[in-house]
Symmetry: D2
Subunit: 298 residues, 4 copies
């Protein structure tokens, strides 16, 4: 299995009454199907997975799988705090036809979680999982960073395919590429460093920004792949600015508004995430403008 | 309602096959009933609440309420990531006869959570809750600290009774006591600073350590209450050392072992929390020894 | 030597042209001499020691010693980044008649500084020093925290008298009091926790706040010493609020303005520390007002 | 002035008695002169500048300037805590013939240092400096990060030429390249991300690693400059591993030992930095081995 390419981290749209919008989930994917995305990440951090009940999560997984075009790699976020619940969710995703499980680090009992905790946890999940596992390190949300030595140790497990590293540390990406076995696949979760990361051997990216600007993200990947370095640099710098104005400044609420501007189902996130304020809409519109529709390749 | 006094943060015992031990939950409480504890905190951080399914959580709440002696104040941990799920859990706790809801801060989307997020969240929960709410700030696990200004603002809500502050910052405890209305009740969650905290107007404490050493914790509270300052200082310093050796060093696994040594249902925590290693048992036994049974008042 | 009591961390006044005001240094001390302070800390963090040249530092040390009344314990900040420079400064302070050297942790090469670095450094300084040494842990400025185990190890050195711990962690203060030898003297550097700290065996305090409000700080110490707990609590809560409005909000610039309001030589700090803005003066005046002159005992 | 290229951050060798080895400073530079380095950074963090007296610092600056071949760009570290001392040091460096001043952020009074503090400080230094100024952000040592918005604001000053950013954040490098004026020159201080940084428009690098492995660092720069991307990637990954084993693991002591292995003047750092332990020598020898002498181009 090859996870090279761009995966949008899908958002979860909600109805005005707060319920998950299953039709919105499907509508977005049907549009994404026409762009050169490698697949979809469902129920990641961007998907507000931690806000959903188990039933809601199941319905989103099923809807996304149903809407996705054949050949798209389907990745389900299945990490929970306990090892047993993580395994339960992973098996459910496999039963729903998902190709890969994206397993974020447990993170609540930080003072008690050591390297051996994570090694034991991921091995237990990978042993029990019917589908390959991607490690997921996202310190901005969890406060936990998987360190190079832990990742390299886990890379030897036959059912651990790779990692999504959202630390934004290109140094760590390089250390893992240099230190892990050659078939261990590294993805970055950070839009501002996609091209730098690809330049040192990262395979692809899972990007929240690709939920709003999928064409440009795919274009960047293609430039890098085909050695069009001047174009890649130029587009990367544009995406640095867009990511800063949309995601660094306004998070999921900003991303959903950017999606709306580009014709996707957006809406407000679930509380306690506050809806985007009126005064923050214009800067996001300005950030999206350069990408609509000129850079679209599809 | 007066939350002055000592509340143990109850652990959740598990059967050898990993299931919640409902009989263990009850057995521990039946023993605690004979000590001068003010009540019980069920499904807090120490109770591994984040490891439990919704059904398991409900069964623990019901069992604890059933076993508790009349007059014990029952406090349920009901904080979830989303505002709506927090309200759902709070209402369920109220329906099961709980007196207070202990609501930890949402904490996943740290970069998006600002002061206004927490103020909006807690007001919505307090507005909807049939029972009074205690704020709960526990940065060691969540990475989120409720700041003095936020606490003081929230202290004005008629259905927010007080706060459990587990930051360990006596400075913040003092700022809140000095800044909030006189009927806002402040509890510390940090065993090493109970007496210093009481010295500046904190009402009581919710303590993991009190699950293993309830008599000593109650004794410390009584010394402070009755102005026996030399005794309070001496006992506090003993508890500082015990807390360091048991909880700082070995977390919930260490606490559960200390409970076993004192005749309670302990056992291993749920994975990924690893069971206590053999070599760590002796230091805990040494830490518990001075408290058994000499300091017991009951 | 007994460091029980209150020590103001002296500020360094500057002339309008930016030069150190030696007359200002002396004038302030001549006024402090009439209050029940145990002594003076010269060239601490509050004294902007890191802003001074070697010659300026020497002139301040000499002036302070000259102005101080007999019997006041004289403590010189002598910590530098290198061990050799720290020893040089310490010997100079001893030659100028200082009683104690306050040695902050080296802090620049954080990733390389381990427990053994600090143990080796402090032993070398204490071995070479003609006067007793106080450890100084001030993480708010240095980013370095001396941990309990390091402090306890160092407490055994015959020429290390104690520690000024400015971490604000009452838990650590308790651990050190409980763990170190009984003759190791612990001082807190945090005004908001003086009374809580004294309640568990801390000997005294080195306080920036005492440069502006020395009478109240001394009064608090006396209340605690004589078991007037209700008065101590009430005054501590007043000082919590004052410290927050003056020092937490406005730092050294705020402290110097508060000193001016109380008749001391204040002035602006040295750049890059910016002078106090006009709009921040009123809140400091309000914070100082309750202490002038009613609580003055002298 | 163009700072494109590789600059080693020079170490300061010491004699066995602890004095600065001026002959060692010169000997190293005389060897570096034959490699394609763009210039030298003297008295940076790697040069243990914070460990040196003013006289020692002056003698190192003079010696380095004397030994450097014509055409090498000379950069002096001149940042001090106070604005006035920073200006004094900067003028001295200019008088000694240095081309650029590298000015690290003041960092002691962290809670008081805001964006406006840094903007005011750097403008005052740049206004007064006879030579152009490079901003220097090195959070690993200072705990202070210059943020994108501050850097972009300062980039407009005519005497601020660029920045050395040692945060290791390729995201920030990209934000600055995208946001600052095109003639603002960005250097990275992080060996593991040189090629990724160059890929998005960074001009060059100031590297501690280049004090031990200058040829390989220059070779990497040349590969990137000439579009030999496969070679650049391969060499970058080798340098990632070398940097991790030498600098991340053993800091300046490890770097100096690696220098010795490659024929430079190394030796121990100044205390409190501890000398390299025997058991840490072999891993450094292993890290250096692949670079000796095969990758040398000169």
């Amino acid at each position: 299995m090859n996870v090279g390419g761009i995966f949008p981290a899908l958002t979860t749209p909600f109805e005005p009454d707060g319920k998950v919008s299953i039709s919105g989930v499907k509508a977005n994917i049907l549009r994404y199907n026409h762009i050169g995305l490698a697949g979809y990440v469902v129920l990641g951090s961007t998907g507000e997975a931690v806000m959903l009940t188990r039933d809601e999560a199941d319905s989103v997984l099923a809807a996304a799988k149903e809407a996705a075009a054949p050949g798209k790699l389907m990745i389900a976020g299945t990490g929970a705090e306990s090892t047993s619940e993580t395994i339960t969710r992973t098996k459910r995703a496999a039963a729903l036809g998902y190709d890969l499980a994206l397993v974020k680090t447990p993170y609540y009992y930080k003072p008690a979680y050591k390297a051996e905790t994570y090694i034991h946890h991921y091995r237990a999940v990978a042993d029990a999982s019917p589908i390959p596992v991607l490690l997921y390190s996202v310190p901005i949300y969890t406060g936990i960073t998987l360190e190079t030595s832990e990742i390299v140790t886990l890379s030897e497990h036959p059912n651990i395919l790779g990692i999504k590293d959202s630390s934004g540390s290109v140094k760590r990406l390089g250390e893992v590429v240099a230190g892990a076995s050659p078939d261990f696949q590294v993805l970055t979760g950070s839009a501002p460093v996609v091209y730098p990361a690809l330049s040192i051997g990262v395979r692809g990216a899972v990007l929240a920004l690709a939920a709003a600007l999928p064409e440009a993200c795919v274009e960047l990947f293609e430039y890098a792949k085909h050695g069009e370095h001047a174009h890649a640099r130029e587009l990367q710098l544009k995406l640095v600015t867009a990511s800063k104005k949309i995601l660094s400044a306004q998070g999921i609420a900003g991303l959903k508004y950017a999606m709306e501007l580009r014709g996707y189902q957006g809406g407000a996130p679930r509380l306690p995430l506050l809806p985007l304020k009126e005064e923050h809409k214009q800067p996001i519109a300005a950030a999206v403008a350069p990408f609509h529709p000129a850079t679209a390749r599809a």
